[in-house]
């Protein structure tokens, strides 16, 4: 069996009396798209925040590429190849679209204690940034302010920023949040194209997207994982139907 890329073991996170992550264990294999689904408030975003290092779990461990990263901060995890996107669009609204992505490149191009050379014309930052923007379909919006992009485009930028760090694992928190049907379809196409090049943990409410993309699906309810399996297995799982899919199945 292949060694998992990410290994989460018995993760627990409490907010006061609320257990937002409850004894959660989960593996992600290299190159797989692993969807995490669950009703609102199930703890999906909280889970991603712990994987990315923004929230500290109360118990449990996270191993990435065989190393324990439970105590590393977000920047250190990013440097080891973990990247995330945010459910609520999180960009640098007052900088240009290309600046946003070039910063992601810069973060992984050595230290930034460089005070004199103009980074805005540095081809080692700008070329990869432009290429990534091309890849997500924002090639012609490079020079505009990020804050002036339409919502759907901001979601694409969100993805481009994560991609530009050249991660081995992408944590995507509802990449299609707030998108219309056309835009969602385009996003699914983008992710389809990424499949195999990078492992993806995908949190998404759009079930068509999930079933189109996922190699495996884990179902989160009240902070714990009630089932993990292939899309086929999850579709036919009685617990899942009752707890979650049942609502609209």
């Amino acid at each position: 069996m292949t060694e998992p890329l990410l290994q989460v073991d018995s993760l627990i996170k409490r907010f006061g009396g609320l257990v937002a992550t409850d004894q959660l264990s989960l593996d992600i294999l290299p190159g797989e798209v692993h969807a995490v689904i669950g009703p609102n408030g199930a703890g999906k975003t909280t889970f991603i925040a712990q994987l990315a290092g923004e929230l500290r779990p109360d118990a449990g461990t996270i191993h990435f590429k065989g190393r324990n990263i439970t105590r590393l901060d977000p920047a250190q995890r990013s440097q080891r190849g973990l990247a995330r996107s945010f459910q609520i669009t999180s960009i640098f609204s007052g900088l240009t679209v290309e600046d946003n992505v070039a910063l992601a490149v810069q973060a992984h191009a050595g230290h930034s204690f460089r005070f004199w050379r103009d980074a805005r014309v540095d081809p080692s930052l700008r070329e990869p940034a432009a290429a990534t923007l091309q890849r997500v379909g924002l090639g012609n919006r490079r020079d505009g302010l990020a804050g002036n992009l339409a919502h759907g485009e901001q979601r694409q930028l969100e993805l481009a920023m994560a991609l530009a760090t050249e991660p081995s694992l992408l944590l995507l928190d509802e990449p299609a949040a707030g998108m219309g049907a056309d835009e969602t379809e385009r996003m699914v196409g983008l992710l389809q194209a990424l499949k195999g090049t990078v492992a993806i943990l995908l949190v998404e409410h759009d079930m068509n997207a999930v079933f189109a993309l996922a190699d495996r699906i884990s179902v989160l309810v009240n902070g714990s994982c009630i089932a993990t399996g292939t899309p086929e297995a999850i579709r036919n799982d009685d617990d899942v139907r009752r707890a979650y899919l049942g609502e609209d199945a």
Binding site: S93, A102, Q106, W116, A119, T165
Partner: protein, 313 residues
């Protein structure tokens, strides 16, 4: 580059500053007013790095003016007038204090950051008050300005003016480069979204602290100049109201703009000069004026000149 109103005004102001001593035929009073404005502009530019570009609302920035000026004063007190000793020490002490104060205050955010930078600065103010050896609240008179082995004579007020002007140009040029460098973009992006910067892989704290230290050091330079210029230093230079004035200059000129603080400092001092001639309660006029600027001209003077948006330099 397009020749717009903003560039024209900026260039005209710089030319006027360069020619002022000639135009005024050496009239000491106005040369003095403008030299002081340029010194404060250097301080305001340094504050703008953390306040305007980095969104670190330091309310204690005048401390570094005090440190620079006290360095000149204390050395002169012991008859050490050599600028090659005074100035590096002044800059080093400013950097060290900024490192210490930054390390403490950057652990906090928002209103706490404002309050802690102010508290630390007030601590230095009271330290100055308690130093009987160095004149306590009366401060020190600096009878002899810094000497540079006969290379430059700061006792000549026109020479001093051009030294200040030279440092102002250097500071502006340095800042113009800095804000578009890798470091500068890190600082500016952090202002918009610190959590995202961390997620992208930047150890944000180090960069913010470095910016804080840089700003403090440049402001220390302004202090060295001011001590020489006024021939005098006292604790009042570090009082929180002085820090407040530096914030006014930055806001008035335009936060996060390279030249803004120069416009702000000059306008501030000219207003102070003329309004205080009209009435001794000039602050009563000045206060509402500032509120109007903040409410209706959010980009400050540089904004009125046509600086388009916050991503501009």
């Amino acid at each position: 580059m397009v020749l717009n109103r903003r560039i024209i005004v900026t260039v005209l102001v710089l030319i006027a500053l360069a020619l002022l001593p000639v135009l005024l035929g050496g009239a000491p009073f106005y040369i003095g007013v403008v030299a002081r404005a340029m010194i404060l502009a250097i301080a305001a530019i340094s504050l703008n790095l953390i306040l305007g570009y980095g969104n670190m609302f330091s309310f204690g920035h005048a401390v570094y003016i005090g440190i620079g000026a006290y360095t000149v004063g204390i050395f002169a007190h012991y008859d050490i007038f050599n600028g090659f000793i005074q100035w590096p020490v002044g800059l080093a002490v400013s950097a060290l204090i900024a490192l210490l104060f930054g390390a403490i205050s950057l652990r906090t955010k928002g209103v706490y950051f404002i309050m802690i930078t102010m508290a630390l600065a007030q601590m230095m103010y009271f330290l100055g008050l308690s130093l009987d050896k160095y004149g306590a609240d009366d401060g020190l008179v600096i009878y002899t300005r810094s000497e540079f082995a006969g290379l430059i004579d700061l006792e000549d007020h026109v020479t001093l003016y051009y030294v200040v002007f030279g440092f102002l140009l250097l500071t502006v040029l340095g800042m113009a480069r800095l804000i578009n460098s890798r470091f500068g973009l890190v600082i500016r992006a952090t202002k918009f979204n610190e959590a995202r910067m961390r997620a992208l892989g930047f150890p944000v704290g180090r960069y913010k602290l470095t910016a804080f230290v840089l700003a403090g050091t440049i402001c220390g330079l302004a202090g060295l100049l001011l001590g020489n210029f006024t021939n005098f230093v006292n604790p009042d230079m570090m009082h929180w109201t002085r820090s407040g004035e530096l914030i006014f200059m930055v806001v008035l000129g335009g936060m996060g703009s390279v030249f803004g603080p120069i416009f702000g400092a000059i306008t501030f001092l000219l207003l102070e000069e003329f309004l205080s001639d009209l009435t001794e309660h000039w602050q009563i006029v000045f206060g509402p004026f500032l509120i109007l600027v903040v409410l209706f001209a959010r980009g400050g003077i540089d904004g009125l000149l046509g600086r388009k948006d916050r991503s501009d330099d």
